[in-house]
C-alpha cells in the first residue's frame, strides 16, 4: 500500500465509502436478479478504489462527470443511498425524479454532473466545466471519468488538445478495467494510452487502481496543481470489474475466464487490501470494521425497502423538464 499522510478519520471514511459502493452494487444486482429493477445496469464492484481514491481528493465544489458504470462515482462523490435506489427503480424521490435511471444518475449537490450512456459522451462536458472555472476565475477542478473503451472516441483528442492549449483544470481519469464490453482492451487500443495524452503535452500517470491510497495520494497532488493552473492531467487507473459488462452478462467465459476473475477478486481486491492495511497499521480492529460493514448493510437494506415502496412519479411529470423555465 502506498503511504498517504492522512488521519484516521479520512482512512476510515475511504474504507467506508468503498464498502458503501460494494454494498450498493450487491443490492442493485439483487434487485435486477429478482426482477424488481427495470432495465439493465452496470456494476462498479471491483473498481471502488478508483472512484473513492479520486473523489476523496475533491471537495463538493469540484465537479465530476461519470459513465454508464456510474454508481461508484455517485456514491464516492457523496450521494445518499435512498435517492440512488429510488432513481434505479424509477421512483419520484430519485435524484432525477426517475427520469434518468442508473445510466443518467446525477447529484448536483455534491458536484456530480451525471452519468452518461454515450461512451465518451462526457468528455466535452467535463472539459467545458473546466473552461468555465478558468473563465470565471474559480479554483474548482473537474474530473472526467471514462473507461478504456472510451479512449477510442475521437472527441477525447479534440478536447485534450484544447484543454492543453488553454491549461484547463481538468483531470482525465481512465478506468482501465481491461475490457470494453466483451472485448479485451489490447484488441481495441493501439500503442500506449498514456502516450496519447503525452502527445498533447499533458502530464500522464499510470497507477494501481486497486490501491486506494496510491490513487488518493496521486490525485491530491494533481488536484492541487490543477487549482494553480498547472493542468490538465491524465491518469490511467489499472482496475477490474467483477461482474459482467452489465448485470445480464452472466455467461461470459467466451471472452473472460473464471480463473482470471477469481485471481483479481482473491488477490487484488481493493477493500480486502485496504482493510488489511488498516488493521496492520492499528488504525482499526477487525471488529470495528465488521461493525462498520454491518451498519452500511443496514443502511442499504433500509434504503432498498424504502425505494421499493416509494411512489412512481405522477403521469403529469412526463411532460415536465423538457425546457427550462
Amino acid at each position: 500500500m502506498a503511504k498517504a499522510k492522512s488521519n484516521t478519520e479520512e482512512y476510515l471514511r475511504m474504507y467506508a465509502q468503498m464498502v458503501r459502493i460494494r454494498t450498493f452494487e450487491d443490492n442493485a444486482n439483487q434487485l435486477y436478479l429478482s426482477a424488481k429493477m427495470p432495465g439493465l445496469t452496470h456494476m462498479y464492484s471491483g473498481e471502488e478504489a478508483v472512484a473513492v481514491g479520486i473523489c476523496e481528493a475533491l471537495t463538493d465544489d469540484d465537479r465530476i462527470t461519470s459513465t454508464h458504470r456510474g454508481h461508484g462515482h455517485c456514491v464516492a462523490k457523496g450521494a445518499e443511498f435512498k435517492e440512488m435506489f429510488c432513481e434505479l427503480l424509477g421512483k419520484a424521490e430519485g435524484y432525477c425524479r426517475g427520469k434518468g435511471g442508473s445510466m443518467h444518475i446525477a447529484d448536483q449537490s455534491h458536484g456530480n454532473l451525471g452519468a452518461n450512456a454515450i461512451v465518451g459522451g462526457s468528455m466535452g462536458i467535463a472539459t467545458g466545466s473546466a473552461l468555465r472555472a478558468k473563465l470565471q476565475g474559480s479554483d474548482d477542478v473537474t474530473v472526467c471519468f471514462f473507461g478504456d473503451g472510451a479512449t477510442a472516441q475521437g472527441l477525447w483528442y479534440e478536447v485534450m488538445n484544447m484543454a492543453a492549449l488553454w491549461k484547463l483544470p481538468v483531470i482525465y481519469a481512465c478506468e482501465n478495467n481491461g475490457y470494453s464490453e466483451y472485448t479485451k482492451t489490447e484488441e481495441i487500443a493501439a500503442g500506449s494510452i498514456t502516450a496519447r495524452a503525452e502527445a498533447f503535452g499533458i502530464e500522464a500517470h499510470q497507477v494501481d487502481g486497486q490501491d486506494v491510497l496510491a490513487v488518493n495520494e496521486l490525485t491530491r497532488k494533481l488536484v492541487e496543481r490543477a487549482r494553480k493552473g498547472e493542468g490538465p492531467f491524465f491518469i490511467e487507473l489499472m482496475t477490474y470489474r467483477y461482474h459482467g459488462h452489465h448485470v445480464g452478462d452472466i455467461n461470459r467465459e467466451y471472452y473472460r475466464s473464471k480463473a482470471e476473475e477469481k485471481d483479481w477478486r482473491d488477490n487484488r481486491d481493493p477493500i480486502i487490501r485496504f482493510r488489511a492495511h488498516l488493521v496492520s497499521e492499528g488504525i482499526a480492529t477487525e471488529a470495528d470494521l465488521d461493525a462498520l460493514n454491518a451498519e452500511i448493510e443496514k443502511d442499504a437494506a433500509e434504503a432498498v425497502a424504502y425505494a421499493l415502496e416509494a411512489a412512481y412519479p405522477d403521469a403529469s411529470e412526463v411532460g415536465q423538464h423538457v425546457y427550462a423555465a
Binding site: G90, G98, K99, A117, A152, E181, T183
Partner: protein, 331 residues
C-alpha cells in the same frame, strides 16, 4: 412455413449475401465473437472469419467513415451501429459524406453500404438508448430508409439493402428481436418502395411503421369488434415511400391515422400525413391524424415511459372519433 425470429432473419439475410458476394463485409462493435449485445450476428464470424466480420473499437464516426470509403472503392460494407441513438455521432459521415457522393460526383461515385441499427422505447433504457431517429436520416436526400415490421420483412429488406447501390439505413425495433414470423426457406427479396397491405378495410386506413404495424393490427382487431373496418398498411421503406398504395387506400376509406415511434413533431407521421392531405384532399372526410412518440426525451421510469409511445388503445380511441366525425376542428 417455418417460423424464425427477427434476429435469425437478419442473420440469415446477411449470411446469404456474404456467401453470394465476396465484397460484402461486416463491421461494428462486438459483432464478431459476441455477435452483438442482442446476439443478432452470432455465428457469422465462425463462418466468414475475422477478415469479413470485423470488431471495431468504440469509434463510430471512424468506422462509418471507413465504410463510406470502402463502399466508394468497391466493397459492400454492412455497418452495425449498436443503438440507433448513436446515429448522432455519425451524422457527418452518413449525411455529408455517404449521402452526397453519388450526386456530387455527377453520378460517378457510388456508396453501396448498409447501416443497420435499431430504434424503439419501453425497454427501460432511458433517453440515450431508446430513440427512434428514422426521420432524421429520412430527411437527407441520398439515403434510403427501411423499417422492417417482422422477421419476414427484416430478411427481405436486408437482402435488398445489401444489393442496393446506395447507402441504406435499416432500423430494427430492438424489442422485436425475439419475435417470430413465418419466413420461407427459399430465397426472396422485398423490393424497396412497395407498401404491404396487411389487412383490408373500408372505414379507416392505419399506416404504421416497424412495430407500429403491430399496434395498428391490434387496433384494427379491436375496432372490428365495434363494427369499424380498418385497413392496415406497412410502407416497409419510408424512403422510397410507396405513396400510390397509401393514397389509393385513403381514397377508399376517407380517413387515416399514421403511426410511427419517432417524435411526433417534424416526423415521419407528419410527412406521410401531409402527402395524403396534398394528394387525396377531396377524398378525406376527416383530417389525417399523426400518432408519434410524445415530444419528450424518453424517460427511464416505467410509469412515465409507457405514456410516451402510441398504443393500440390510443389508436382505437382516435379512430373511433375520426369515424364518428368528431375530429373535424373547423372553426
Amino acid at each position: 412455413m417455418r417460423e424464425i425470429t427477427l434476429s435469425q432473419a437478419v442473420n440469415e439475410a446477411i449470411a446469404e449475401e456474404m456467401r453470394r458476394d465476396e465484397t460484402v463485409f461486416l463491421m461494428g462493435e462486438d459483432v464478431a465473437e459476441a455477435g452483438t449485445p442482442f446476439k443478432v450476428l452470432s455465428g457469422l464470424v465462425e463462418e466468414f472469419g475475422t477478415g469479413r466480420v470485423i470488431d471495431t473499437p468504440i469509434s463510430e464516426p471512424g468506422f462509418v467513415g471507413m465504410a463510406v470509403g470502402a463502399a466508394m472503392t468497391g466493397a459492400r460494407p454492412i455497418v452495425d451501429l449498436m443503438f440507433g441513438d448513436f446515429i448522432f455521432l455519425v451524422m457527418d459521415q452518413l449525411c455529408n459524406q455517404a449521402a452526397k457522393q453519388h450526386y456530387m460526383s455527377g453520378g460517378k461515385l457510388r456508396v453501396p453500404m448498409v447501416l443497420r441499427t435499431n430504434m424503439g422505447a419501453t425497454r427501460r433504457s432511458a433517453a440515450q438508448h431508446s430513440q427512434s431517429l428514422q426521420a432524421l436520416v429520412a430527411h437527407i436526400p441520398g439515403l434510403k430508409v427501411a423499417m422492417p415490421s417482422s422477421a419476414y420483412e427484416a430478411k427481405g429488406l436486408m437482402k435488398t439493402a445489401i444489393r442496393d447501390n446506395n447507402p441504406v439505413v435499416i432500423f430494427e425495433d430492438k424489442l422485436m428481436y425475439q419475435d417470430k414470423a413465418p419466413v420461407p426457406e427459399e430465397e426472396y427479396l422485398i423490393p424497396f418502395g412497395q407498401a404491404h397491405v396487411k389487412r383490408a378495410g373500408s372505414d379507416i386506413t392505419l399506416i404504421g411503421t416497424s412495430s407500429m404495424v403491430q399496434v395498428a393490427e391490434k387496433a384494427a382487431a379491436m375496432l372490428a369488434e365495434e363494427g369499424i373496418s380498418a385497413e392496415v398498411i406497412d410502407p416497409r421503406t419510408i424512403v422510397p415511400l410507396d405513396e400510390a398504395t397509401l393514397i389509393e387506400s385513403v381514397k377508399k376509406t376517407s380517413r387515416a391515422i399514421v403511426i410511427d415511434e419517432g417524435h411526433q413533431s417534424y416526423g415521419v407521421t407528419a410527412e406521410i400525413a401531409s402527402r395524403l392531405n396534398e394528394k387525396a384532399f377531396y377524398h378525406l372526410d376527416a383530417p389525417v391524424l399523426r400518432m408519434g412518440a410524445m415530444d419528450v426525451p424518453v424517460p427511464f421510469s416505467p410509469a412515465l415511459e409507457d405514456l410516451t409511445v402510441p398504443t393500440p388503445e390510443g389508436v382505437v380511441a382516435n379512430a373511433r372519433q375520426l369515424c364518428a366525425g368528431e375530429m373535424i376542428h373547423a372553426a
